[in-house]
Symmetry: C2
Subunit: 429 residues, 2 copies
């Protein structure tokens, strides 16, 4: 854990180093991923079968690549009642929040008589990557699938690796609840390539979202443009801004709720009280010992945890803007006044009773958020990631007569004679 | 020019080939671009100077890299009055259209007592690439810069190569009119790298937009994630859906207005009348001969032009959706009925009096549009490309008591004990 004090002479330099370190893997998988993508593009299902045998240790029979809807429904029906109710509450609240994001079409006629507008529509097909192993989270499936369905996507395709053939029943249950249309037993860069280019078995989609390891992320990056993708994602992070009136145990728990995600996750505390900072640091030690996820949480906190003691919390917004963190908690009596000054953050959790974990599951806003300072320019997942906008223009004779000559002047200045001509012939010029 | 008939037995195959061919360069510049980016990242302005000397044939003096605002204002003042008025009309109409795109913030409290919402804000800095040479279009500068300024971007940075030191006065004039804050004499992948990582001279930006050659496009693609970028762009294209009641000369002019952009631009006509198709093809020949841009337009039309004769224009929407073209003109008496069935298109031009060129300059909607079938999943440039959304959550004691237990159940099911713990400690569980 790194401890900084904003009044120390070396602070600016140390903080700049912190801002710069994105903790992202240098693992160079670009060439391997390129090979896999090309292979799947050219050989389709045959290549999928080979990579699945190699990486997931099993090769589904020809009729076993797709997990049937009944298996998903059965997994859902088999859930313990409290877990089923929790998933249903989460789904309902996510659906409600995202429904209000649906954009409005525009269609109006301006004073020149020209009709102008924009019409939104959903993509035809969306692909959702769901990791196997450590990060196989049903909540993540809901957070990706529900916005797609709310957007109006007709075909929602889930791909997920099933190592040794084993599917995660919670993921299947969530797929049923979210209304996934297809679920395929395939993962890795090969699954992303199959979604982008299609194979004989799996039809291509238009947008691919969802978390994954370095190979999956690189495959999405390479296929950006062939399909739409959500933002490049790095390790998770939280910034907690807290005064000394908080219970140190609560703040320690919040810091650890990020740390347990990943050894390279990052938890940062900004506080204006050095004694409180000590108490939180102590409580982190106490709490870690109790966690089944202690090993990961301890690695993250030891290597990437940060406590910054400031003279006044008025310093916090500038630091928060530089960090542009995925999650920002503001645990003070008047969180809004600090929030008003924070421009760059994925999602903000206001007040002492809003631990970040409530946003991971049941609050409603999306938990897929920009990491690694990308909140400077990008947003959490929304229905807009599954939609696109078509603008339109309809000119009357009078409207074209009014604005056409200006277009002709500009086209000529740009040396585009045929552009000018297409207006001139209509105006009889 | 390729001529197809939808009732021919080989049509489906030929049309599928057409849809598949994105006419995009296979030029493999990835490795060279990677080298340039790394070089600029490590050596900054020194690397910029070397690449500029090499590619643009001049090396600005240390105090001459930035084109001063006065030079832009002088270029604007020196415009001929009709051209200045045309630029001003275009800027005003683009501004009006994009202002109405500004998204609304959300802030509400749901029945559980939880406050939820989303707040939009502009990125701090946007970089706009403006090509030198053939594609140095002032209209393009307006179409990129005005949405950024409408979004509220405080720092708008233009980069443009000035081969042999010569800047395009129209581009400088447009930069003045659009309110660009900085204009730098630098182009190519090196300019994009400088915008993304910053140098001693040029501070970094958060989003980079604007057209460019294969090197610029590849640099943007490689830096996606370090900064935000607009969509990957390929050669321009138009699909004209026209019945026999049109003047063949008008339709020929429209097809050529795309063809003159680029030898690999593509113009496609769908009509339900073979004789009309012949007339348009003849008029294309007549019109080309008159164009100063004849060489480019002829290459495009000969190599990539397509005429598809259908039995009925009712077939057109399905073909248009498969092509997902950047521009679609519908020149019929009732264009709306076809438009209602078109789901995938960048921008649609309705009726006989709406040539695409009016949208390039003065209609108001953005002319930066998805190419190469990307209208299936992406949209034209808008203020949203220069903004991002921060979601927020504020729970009360009662709200956390109401939804917290469900979050705990899900966290435990996912094996994330610290997530559960951060809620349990607050609820005294």
């Amino acid at each position: 854990m790194l401890r900084l004090k904003s009044s120390d002479p070396g602070f600016a330099k140390a903080f700049a180093r912190l801002v710069k370190d994105r903790r992202e893997s240098d693992e160079n998988v670009a060439r391997d991923v390129q090979t896999i993508i090309e292979d799947v593009r050219l050989r389709g299902d045959e290549a999928l079968a080979e990579y699945t045998a190699k990486f997931d240790g099993h090769a589904p029979a020809d009729d076993d690549w797709r997990i049937p809807p009944e298996a998903c429904r059965e997994a859902f029906d088999a859930l313990k009642p409290d877990l089923r109710a929790a998933l249903e509450l989460a789904a309902q609240r996510i659906r409600d929040y995202h429904r209000a994001q649906l954009p409005e079409n525009r269609d109006y006629t301006d004073e020149s008589g020209m009709r102008l507008g924009a019409r939104w529509s959903a993509v035809d097909g969306a692909g959702l990557y769901v990791p196997g192993g450590r990060a196989a989270y049903p909540s993540s499936l809901l957070m990706n699938a529900i916005p797609a369905k709310v957007a109006g996507v007709a075909r929602l395709v889930v791909v997920t690796p099933t190592p040794k053939g084993e599917a995660n029943p919670l993921v299947l249950a969530a797929a049923h609840l979210a209304g996934a249309d297809e679920v395929w037993r395939v993962g890795g860069a090969q699954a992303v390539a199959a979604l982008a280019y299609g194979t004989a078995r799996i039809k291509p989609v238009d947008v691919i979202t969802g978390p994954g390891n370095a190979w999956v992320a690189e495959a999405k990056r390479q296929l950006f443009g062939v399909v739409g993708i959500d933002m490049v994602a790095g390790p998770s992070e939280i910034l907690v801004i807290a005064d000394a009136k908080n219970d140190p145990q609560w703040i320690a728990a919040d810091l650890l709720s990020q740390a347990e995600h990943d050894p390279v996750a990052q938890s940062i505390l900004i506080t204006d009280d050095a004694a409180f900072a000590d108490q939180v640091a102590d409580m982190v030690g106490v709490e870690i010992a109790m966690l089944p996820t202690a090993k990961v949480a301890k690695a993250s906190w030891d290597d990437y945890g940060v406590i910054i003691v400031v003279d006044s919390l008025d310093e916090a917004p500038a630091l928060a803007n530089a960090l542009a963190a995925e999650h920002v908690e503001i645990a003070t009596d008047d969180p809004q006044s600090l929030f008003d000054k924070i421009r760059h953050a994925g999602s903000v959790f206001l007040g002492r009773m809003t631990p970040e974990a409530v946003g991971d599951y049941v609050a409603g806003p999306n938990h897929v958020l920009p990491t690694g300072r990308r909140a400077r320019f990008s947003s959490g997942l929304s229905v807009l990631d599954f939609m696109k906008r078509t603008s339109f223009i309809e000119a009357t004779d009078a409207a074209l007569a009014a604005v056409g000559p200006a277009a002709i002047a500009l086209a000529e200045a740009e040396g585009l004679a045929a552009h000018a001509r297409s207006i001139e012939v209509r105006l009889g010029l």
